[in-house]
């Protein structure tokens, strides 16, 4: 096997190199030569090619993402900001929370089970590398047309992968989203969110400090999985005997990940670690260059010490391998034995592969020969930055001007009832329990709320009842109509979902899923969405703590709807005071908080009944959204609510149906004066919630709304004698729907499609 060493690179400057096959542009290759003052070795070329990829370098998005760092709201709760593996937020009582969402879209389309499984694995390692114990996961998912046969392949594989990996890991799955839209047909979105908790003193960062400290690689052995394009190098540079074509999707082992969690938390809590980094995209290349770049600036690695699953791997492949369940720790020499003892206890293999130095260089040797000698910052942080052209496409005019005004609406009480029954069973509004019942929501014993509640809620401290709530949301149709406003509406919905359960919204994470950044129209959508989100976060006082960008969700010319998935984290002082979504007792009074306008553009009704997308998304008043949240949180704290539920996709009809199905107890409602039944039921005006108030708290509740000057409308009462939803004032008549019938319709859709 011939090795391309640094001295080879110096002595043979003219050797042609397959940079284009590795995804590097000509000018990017030239700037690598300029940085090094010579041609890169094949190992160096491999490192740069992966670290300068869109996925690792954010080269197209960086110039826009800077807004999250400049438009930072005054907020005392940020302990660690953007740029680390995940942001850290103070939730009081000495506790801190870290949370982050990441995409695993492309691998999940190629190989749904492993793609989704390793998506969870990767985000969990991000959380443990901050020093936190992971306490919950959530999965925002997007699929193509539910009737398309390929959707079945993708969905069932992804759901099995999330369950197979997450259940074995012992993390409760407390929520997420499942949305169908044909724009995702060739590009399903698999986003994975993990949240972890820790005491303030346990926060750890990824940096290699302390000259002479050891760099330890531990966890699973390094194999040939996830290498992808780098096999070009292997086949070009090496004998044809070795296995050249390798799978580019990684394979996960959740049992190893569980051991890695326990082992990592034990070495961190024992004070055995100076710096720590998970291995995800770009594997050892990423971990060593980032650790060195964030620390003293130098590191030497003996690459031949890496424990392998496949002894035929070339050094380039070892540097690039994305084998799962691996971590890298920086450890003082005196603590190596203690570190190794913990690894042994958990049956985790570990080996010292490098040493921190102050050379300012990342050097890698392979059996005594130097194969990498680079400034680590140039690999990890100083990649190319693009100012991609962006422009509002002309077709936006057509899209925004063809609103839903002329769509046929139900014209009689019977048609309203029929529409309600139909909407209850559409794939986007139907019960997701066929999916969520394949996930463990009980493990760890701290799950206070899980799907289908508005947000997932976890008890953090058993003694005090301190807890957190998390929700993820995005109506991508709104973003397609107006990406700036759409991103803000996604934030508002997620913020509201957290507040509805009684938690105070505190911080934001995001996963920005878009088409190709090389298309100016897509780049415009991206720029608009980021700006909208940054502006809204500034106004609402909720900082962005981190996130992820996924570009190239596009097949040919057709991009997905811009899908900025927004996660909001909230804190609740006593989880006992949480507000559930189901009403409970006879006589409880049902109110709508907020104003219902005739806003149907981008609504589920327009989509499901008419396959229509056009017009302008609902108006949004961020100040009103904050006031609504104040009422919801105060009402929860003062125990004014028997129940509360957000109004979003499917409008008030869907909100009421979900509350009734969850409760099993009937309700008598009347369309408020001044509204048409249709608008009342299916408009998706923002900044609304349905709240249910016990009679003896009614005066206090109304006084609270009045003190905030917030609109509130009584719409009915809970009726324990009835098992149906009754609505009066529908074209002068009353309609009645049996709750069991609604439930049957809601629950049979997904099993019919995918069971």
């Amino acid at each position: 096997m011939s090795i391309d060493t640094v001295s080879d690179a110096i002595s043979s400057p003219k050797t042609s190199q397959p940079f284009a096959e590795l995804g590097l542009k000509k000018d990017e290759y030239e700037s690598i030569r300029e940085i090094l003052g010579r041609r890169p070795t094949s190992s160096e070329l491999a490192m740069y090619s992966v670290m300068w990829s869109e996925h690792c370098s954010y080269k197209s998005s960086k110039v826009h993402l800077r807004q999250f760092g400049t438009k930072v709201p005054k907020n005392d709760s940020m302990l660690v900001g953007i740029g680390e593996n995940a942001g850290v937020v103070d939730i009081g009582q000495g506790w801190a929370v870290t949370f982050k969402v990441e995409s695993h879209n492309h691998p999940s389309y190629v190989e749904p089970y492993q793609g989704a499984a390793t998506g969870i694995g990767g985000i969990v390692r991000d959380i443990i590398s901050m020093g936190a114990r992971p306490v919950a996961v959530m999965d925002p998912l997007r699929f193509g047309d539910p009737e398309n046969p390929d959707t079945r392949r993708v969905l069932t594989g992804i759901v099995s992968g999330i369950g197979g990996y997450g259940n074995c890991l012992g993390l409760p799955n407390i929520g997420g989203e499942i949305v169908f839209d044909s724009s995702y047909q060739g590009n399903p979105l698999v986003n994975a969110l993990c949240v972890g908790t820790m005491k303030h003193e346990d926060i750890h960062l990824a940096k290699a400090s302390g000259v002479g400290n050891a760099v330890i690689l531990y966890g699973a052995r390094t194999g040939g999985d996830g290498i992808g394009g780098v096999s070009v190098l292997a086949s070009e540079t090496f004998d044809a005997d070795g296995p050249a074509k390798r799978p580019s999707v990684q394979v996960g082992d959740p049992f190893m990940e569980k051991l890695l969690i326990e082992c990592t938390l034990e070495v961190l809590h024992a004070g055995l670690v100076e710096g720590i980094q998970d291995l995800g995209g770009a594997g050892i290349s990423c971990a060593t260059s980032e650790l060195a770049s964030n620390g003293e600036g130098g590191m030497h690695v003996w690459l031949d010490r890496v424990l392998l699953r496949d002894s035929t791997l070339s050094p380039e492949e070892i540097l690039m391998s994305e084998s799962q369940e691996r971590m890298c720790a920086v450890v003082e020499p005196a603590k190596i034995d203690a570190f190794m003892a913990v690894c042994k206890k958990w049956d985790v293999e570990a080996v010292v592969i490098g040493e921190v130095n102050n050379s300012g260089r990342l050097t890698v040797e392979w059996h005594g020969q130097e194969i990498v000698n680079v400034p680590p910052r140039s690999v990890a942080h100083d990649g190319p930055v693009y100012e991609r052209p962006y422009a509002r496409p002309d077709w936006m005019d057509v899209r925004q001007s063809s609103g839903p005004e002329n769509l046929v609406r139900p014209k009689s009480a019977d048609e309203v009832k029929q529409t309600w029954l139909t909407m209850t069973g559409t794939p986007n509004l139907a019960s997701k329990s066929w999916v969520t019942s394949q996930y463990d929501r009980y493990v760890m014993g701290n799950t206070v709320l899980a799907q289908p509640e508005d947000s997932g809620m976890i008890r953090v401290d058993e003694k005090t009842g301190l807890g957190i709530a998390v929700s993820t949301d995005c109506n991508a149709r709104f973003a397609a109509l107006d990406p700036y406003k759409g991103a803000q509406l996604a934030l508002a919905e997620s913020y509201r979902n957290v507040a509805v359960t009684g938690a105070k919204p505190l911080a934001v994470t995001n996963c920005l899923n878009f088409g190709s950044p090389e298309d100016p129209a897509v780049m415009w959508q991206f720029e608009q969405a980021v700006t909208g989100l940054a502006d809204a976060c500034l106004e609402m006082g909720t900082p962005v703590t981190g996130g992820n960008v996924s570009f190239y969700n596009q097949t040919g010319e057709v991009a997905i709807h811009p899908t900025p998935v927004i996660g909001v984290l909230g804190v609740i002082q006593d989880v006992d005071r949480r507000t559930p979504m189901a009403w409970q007792r006879d006589g409880e009074i049902v109110y709508v908080l907020g104003t219902t306008r005739d806003e149907l553009a981008g609504s589920e009704w327009a989509h499901a009944i008419h396959k229509h997308l056009g017009g302008l998304p609902p108006a949004l008043d961020l100040q009103a959204e904050m006031t609504l949240a104040e009422i919801l949180v105060a009402g929860s704290r003062n125990e004014l609510f028997a129940a509360a539920h957000d109004v979003s996709e499917g409008g008030i009809a869907q909100t009421i149906a979900e509350m009734a199905m969850r409760s099993g107890v009937g309700v008598r409602l009347e369309v408020p004066a001044g509204l048409e039944a249709f608008t009342f039921l299916w408009s998706e005006s923002a900044t609304r919630a349905v709240v249910v108030v016990p009679q003896d708290r009614n005066d206090e509740f109304l006084a609270l709304c009045e003190s905030k000057s917030f609109p509130v409308t009584k719409i009915g009462v809970v009726d324990a004698l009835s098992k149906s939803v009754e609505l009066a004032g529908v074209f002068g008549e009353s309609i009645s729907m049996d709750i069991d019938e609604l439930r049957t319709i809601s629950e049979e859709t997904l099993p019919r499609l995918f069971g």
Binding site: N167, F255, D347, T436, S437, Y442, G445
Partner: protein, 230 residues
């Protein structure tokens, strides 16, 4: 003296902290036992928790059977030590031949997590003495391989000797023979149950608190047997 109840953690155990919490809420003292321990630290009873011991490689519970602590546990159980195996713990008990039969892949081939109604069929075991016979309880179920199977003769024996401790009601969630959710050995000290009583011990986090009585039953049994004082 407070009864000391050991909870064994194997690599891959997941519900060990939940089992320990249930022991504490019932009034016992939980003692962490490690799979590599050479002895049982003089505990008065042991819980084998849910999870995926050793990644469920080979077969669920098959590798855990060979853990160092299990040799001692099998001897102690045969000597009368109360042992409760929940979910993966139940699988470990059948693999260790402390209980008959086996747990197989759910008949619908999916992992399932749901609030499951059960009927208590036996209240003479050490872990079910505080229930009424015929009592209906609702506790979480979550498994991928929870289908209880045994040959007809064994099933007839279990029924004849009153050793079925709980049966699934309304739906059979995993294809278990004769709707069996849990069984006991003849002596009544070793119990295996597929659903999770330890996840139904607090109103805040469980669907009910119906599971708590498994743990209070144990404490009552220990007191009645004179193992510990009231």
């Amino acid at each position: 003296m407070t009864p000391r109840v050991g909870v064994i953690t194997f690599p891959g155990s997941l519900d060990d902290k939940d089992a320990a919490r249930a022991v504490r809420l019932a009034g016992g003292e939980s003692v962490s036992l490690w799979h590599a321990d050479a002895d049982l630290h003089s505990v008065d009873a042991v819980v084998l928790p849910g999870g995926f011991s050793y990644g469920d490689y080979l077969r669920c519970g098959a590798i855990a059977k060979f853990a160092p602590v299990m040799g001692k546990l099998v001897d102690a159980a045969n000597g009368g030590l109360p042992v409760l195996g929940i979910c993966n713990g139940f699988q470990v008990l059948t693999e260790s031949h402390l209980l008959p039969g086996a747990l197989t892949r759910n008949d619908h081939l999916h992992f399932i997590c749901r609030d499951q109604k059960l009927r208590i069929e036996n209240n003479s075991s050490m872990w079910t003495s505080n229930y009424e016979i015929g009592q209906e309880i609702l506790i979480p179920l979550k498994n991928g391989e929870g289908g209880y199977v045994a040959d007809e003769k064994t099933l007839d024996e279990l029924e004849g000797e009153g050793r079925v401790i709980a049966r699934y009601l309304e739906i059979n969630p995993n294809g278990s023979r004769r709707e069996i959710a849990g069984i006991t050995n003849a002596r009544g000290n070793v119990v295996g149950i597929m659903p999770h009583p330890e996840h139904a011990v607090e109103k805040l986090t469980g669907p009910t608190t119906d599971g708590l009585r498994f743990f209070t039953s144990l404490l009552t049994s220990l007191v009645n047997n004179g193992k510990v004082s009231a």
